[in-house]
């Protein structure tokens, strides 16, 4: 198989996966059975992980598969067990439709003069840092995986900030849910 045939075959798989992704998203948005919707968000994450692999982002793919399809699904199932399992009927509204079409149209108009998908001439690939990341990883960081090297070495402070955000979110969750347990114990104790 020639290189060109291979590229067009990959583009075909990309397109199929993307259509599957959009279809899953539409069903998630429309379903009123929340349990089924949570399961579909798991499938959504898995299909997107497949797409990330096709786009050469293997690290993003396995993080999305582990975190998006795993942890998010568990968190949502936990929430569903404490709240309602079904979404209630609601009237169709016109305003959100208009907003979405306007915003989407504006964004699509913004992409028209973007560099083509996969083009080597795009500014992002011509920037000197691109070469620095590839050659520097080998010569300075001595790791085969460029993404790991950039994450932990070149952008180490960024990753430190991310850890801080996760820590803050964890404290937030404990504060929000910790107060609940005390209060509900009081209510239980107060009612005869």
């Amino acid at each position: 198989m020639s290189a060109k045939q291979q590229t067009s075959g990959l583009a075909m798989i990309e397109l199929i996966l993307f259509v599957l992704l959009v279809a899953t998203a539409v069903v998630v948005a429309r379903l009123r059975d929340l349990f089924a919707a949570v399961m579909l968000t798991g499938i959504f994450s898995l299909v997107s992980a497949g797409l990330f692999t096709l786009m050469d982002a293997v690290d993003v793919a396995f993080t999305e598969a582990a975190v998006g399809a795993g942890i998010s699904t568990i968190l949502m199932l936990g929430t569903l067990s404490l709240t309602a399992r079904r979404e209630e009927q609601q009237p169709v509204r016109l305003l959100p439709f208009l907003v979405v079409i306007l915003v989407g149209g504006a964004l699509i108009a913004g992409t028209v003069d973007m560099p083509a998908y996969g083009a080597l001439e795009a500014p992002i690939h011509q920037h000197p840092m691109y070469n620095e990341f590839i050659t520097g990883t080998e010569q300075k960081v001595h790791l085969p995986n460029v993404v790991t090297a950039v994450l932990a070495s070149y952008r180490g402070y960024d990753t430190f900030g991310e850890t801080t955000v996760v820590f803050a979110a964890a404290i937030g969750v404990f504060l929000v849910l910790g107060g609940r347990r005390k209060k509900s114990a009081k209510i239980d104790g107060g009612t005869p």
Partner: protein
Amino acid sequence: MSQVMDHGIYWLCIVLMMIGLYTVISRDNLVKKIMGLNIFQVSVIMFYVSMGKISGGTPPILVPKDQPGAAEVVYSNPLPHVLMLTAIVVGVATTALGLALVVRIQEMYGTVEEDEIIEMDRTE
């Protein structure tokens, strides 16, 4: 036609983004809103990652120098991947916090439907 070939993948990302946005702004159920937020987040990540792709490139894991053809290998840009790894982890942290707030709202109001909550606040 070449517009569709060159930018079609970006447009699909935007379609996905708009489905997420629609779910966030039009649904009353708070859990559903967070699902919409997740769809929105994945679409943004997809957009960034698609900008880092080079046709015919390989994942940015270095091929050993002594392997034949190692000098001609083109690696896709690793920078968007790194930024989006951070975004995924932060996204899960915000999802967890949002769901904790939903559980708390359920405790206080007995419902997670936004219109009912607003109605309760009004009558109080």
